[in-house]
Symmetry: D2
């Protein structure tokens, strides 16, 4: 049984982690912390957890957390920097769902996140926890940086094209759409039902923090620095990301369907749909799956890839557990087998 | 392993049955039938089931169904009458999610459902599958009539008051609200997103088919014939029923909280919330739970009970499986333990 | 042209007032104030108003407001108390959309709103601005208290029954449902799309501030003090209130349909639907109408009245303008004629 | 007063036409037809119109329609072909909201709409009713083809770039998103609330009927045949289209903001937002506006244009009335001045 701590368990990735961990046959959430809600029962905040556990939020305490085998950080950026180092010293492994260890270049991180990096010395060993790319390094990792939600959907969609250099890497477009839970459980006007339902808009057109993260990964895959136009949009629904990716093919005679099927043949969390399919976000809701379809409209030289994930599962907490499973020698999808609830 | 057939598996209670059965460790859906979609793969219709099974819809064939241990009917009313008799003869047990065997009096059924009853001879042995009321009869039943969605929410809410004769049975009000999935997967204008979202309305004020079903059960509980004003409403959401029940107390010194806690103390699928709580439909989404709260506003002589269920689970498919578990000697909540996905 | 000021124009009733006033042929919003957004353009906050005006929020200043013919308060409770007195002294009339002058008994107000009443001396002259009840007093009023949203829907529904003493006033039930805009534009977790959509719940069962307001008006109508069980619920939509009202008939031979049609025959903002109808909230969205239907299910002795309004229009800003029209000798529905946008 | 007929008034563009016409000070809907609902009152189908008119649906009869000054067709494609010729002979002008006269090449039309073209002889005189492009021809037109919803949003977004040849016309991408009302009021499973809410998906990736229409218009603007990758998506909301357009700049030193502001300076129905803005669909809901913003993320050579309309107004019925105003010498925005209802 893996003994687990969760720091910052009051947000949406936090409650999703706890939902998944409470149903996980080989993990046990032992410590959950929250600065603002210390002393409260978990199920007072999250009524779906009533009857599932008697956990009470406590103040984040390195000693208590240090008795866990692994600690998840579901915190705003900047929080994990200091605490991660402390926990690693105590021999506790760390899986960080925030952005703190995703960007390898501390200066780039500081530019996009507008504050000093608190643990640049750990960047070298931090493993970017995208199992479909870094499965080999994850089992031995002490510190895993779980990819962002948009980066997961966009990267898995572009990977086969860039790894095999089938497209012009300087003309990539990712038109991404996310449910409102991507903005978190923070009380802010823009996330109110009255503002976000019956409405659709783009945001962050001028630059979104997930762009450098995506580019870092795609650069490794393409062995060159791609250019990507990335435009996120807000969808009036709770969960789900759909990314529509556009790329110009370098070779038009390639069989894209086969390329994708080969690339992901052995991936338990990536499902390449049959040719002509349209993935829907609801088909992955609550699951750790990424479903993909690849098209070439009109047989022209533009590839269109559509990629869907649940932003809170494969885009955050589920992927974090997928990493935990790999780190602790468990079957990769243990605790992640639930079928999407539909409708 | 219980070998299961599902007749009429193309509606919402059908796909929900299959989602639950595919994850059930001791049941195996072996035959799924559909007149309209015979020959199609199940996952072509329901993208959440992709990767979970290779089932193909077939025409309803008593021979094939008769090789199952149990057959679920997720059909419109009238269909199960004839086929149930045939299957029972072959030794296959039947769990009917439709209204066909819920009403004990065939004439009452014919009045509300506007057609001749096709199997009045089976009404005697049919067990009304509300485990909280009829747990003793279910294990030996050959034929179980799964309660309707509204009747489940309303009956569980009123039961303690009526069994103990704490209220005036002639002044009951049930103001019930259901998500749109209660209307099924049928293509009809009133269920379109453009008609039902951003809107709220009552319907069936003049009389709803669930009224005689509720009265039949409440009569048994109250040992008298109650009068109930039942007004259902349509909520702009997919799943969930919330029933707000009003009753006039006969004795004002009773401790209602304690009455409810005692009544449901050993019920694994009923959760009485602490005094002062407000149950939310999302707290039971995808689960087989009924959560209840009881209030007496202003300390006056009106009891207000709020009851929530997921209409497709405790209100249909989950309750059907709860019955199956009892009929086949399995733990009552086997396959029904998932935690609600929230948000 | 009526010169209008709006205090607290950054909430949902504020923007709705401005939408209606900007389209009103005989009113001109001249001063809009906001403590938090002073200096900002109105259309920076509310993109629907772009191209409609060049108004800029200013600090609330009695001198500037005092040059208006009338000032609307769309503020949290407690704000209008002091400023209203000041404006009335300057000869400016006041229409208060908050609860500050609705309750005639200052002690009752203080009990429910938990603070001292700031202007008890004005309570005597304040007119409760429900034109269907107080049309005679409104034209001369200096100070109008616009009814709350629930009280408007509930009161208009019960009025005919109570005025004519057709029902037992001690057994009234109002099961009310409101869209989320009723909670205002305040950033709070409970109003987030991720919390309030795909969910339904009751709230305030133990006691809601609109209860004493409803009782005060119904007492006048019934010429006795009624007892009302009032349970509000939160509907996953933006706008709309539907109230389902239950009352026990004293005389069963009455023609309820005719009672309602007679009572509201000359009311331009109340629409009694034909017998057997089900009013829908979307049919009044954006309009100042209350649509009503009255039923007697099964011909029994319980009357069921269903009443719908747009909580931000007839439940707040539209009714405020209806009052303004009456106060300034304009046709009662001037500026309130728009047809609901459907779907 | 313009005397108006509406053929096929039972769909969403039909009811929207009627909502706008009933509020139009210089038009009068005199005849409304429907094959399926002849004999029914209009307000029985559309509860928002109750109290606005006493119109009754009648069978489509050329004689009755021929007494109108203008007849709108809000019909499925193929219906207007035959009736339009008949009405034009009688001297009645025709505004067709369907696709019947949009495509100039009958063969292209037949390819995409899979049936013979019923009135190729009228294609020569039919005017494509996009006032921002064809304002000069509309006043004298006998037959106007109102642009499709996606074509309106996409074309207005691309026009300035293509007219001035600022971008590579062979690398255009239009990622478009529409509310569900774009699919009409037809009863079909895919448009059910339970299928379309809490979900997001692309559709028609392999080819959508609006593509040839967009290309036809853009070809005229660009004076060359562009290549466009067009991917429509379904948004879980009722109304609104947002199109995100991507184009590769030929000249990077151009001031795009100024290009757009100049192009649309005198257009009453196009609003170019300030640099850095994000248009939202709710800001145009119920209005005839197209709001646009143009971006160049990271200062790179990709232009990103975001364009929003209400698909039922500027994308259909409002634009039809804008055309009618021009055809009958009325101010262009008469009857189209309502402010969007927000929230």
């Amino acid at each position: 049984m893996v003994r687990v701590g969760v720091v910052g368990a009051t947000g949406y990735t936090g409650v999703e982690l706890l939902r998944l961990l409470l149903a996980h046959p080989e993990a046990e959430p032992a410590v959950v912390t929250s600065r603002g809600n210390a002393g409260e029962r978990l199920d007072a905040l999250f009524p779906n957890l009533r009857g599932q556990c008697d956990l009470v939020f406590q103040e984040p305490d390195p000693a208590a957390l240090g008795e866990c085998d692994v600690v998840f950080f579901a915190t705003p950026h900047g929080v994990a920097h200091a605490m991660a180092a402390e926990l690693l010293k105590r021999g506790t492994r760390v899986i960080d769902l925030s952005a703190d260890f995703r960007i390898k270049d501390a200066q780039v991180w500081e530019h996009w996140y507008n504050q000093p990096h608190g643990a640049p010395e750990l960047l070298g060993e931090a493993v970017y926890g995208l199992p479909e790319l870094n499965r080999a390094q994850i089992p031995e990792a002490r510190l895993v940086a779980v990819p962002g939600c948009y980066p997961t959907a966009v990267t898995l969609g572009f990977l086969p094209l860039l790894e095999q250099q089938l497209v012009d890497p300087l003309r990539l477009v990712a038109d991404a759409k996310s449910g409102v839970s991507g903005a978190g459980r923070k009380a802010q006007v823009g996330s109110l039902l009255c503002e976000a339902s019956e409405n659709f808009k783009a945001y962050g057109v001028a630059g979104h923090r997930h762009l450098p993260e995506i580019l870092q990964t795609l650069s490794l895959a393409a062995r060159s620095v791609p250019q990507l136009t990335f435009v996120p949009h807000l969808v009036p629904m709770i969960r789900g990301i759909l990314a529509t990716l556009y790329a110009t093919l370098a070779h038009v005679e390639v069989d894209l369907q086969s390329v994708y099927e080969q690339r992901y043949r052995d991936e338990p969390c990536v499902d390449v749909l049959p040719a002509g399919s349209q993935p829907e976000t609801r088909s992955v809701r609550g699951t750790n799956l990424c479903r993909l379809a690849v098209h070439r409209p009109g047989g022209a030289d533009t590839a269109v890839v559509v990629s869907v994930i649940d932003n809170l599962v494969k885009g955050a907490s589920g992927q974090a557990i997928q990493n935990m499973n790999l780190m602790f020698g468990l079957p990769e999808t243990r605790g992640l087998e639930a079928i999407a609830v539909l409708p």
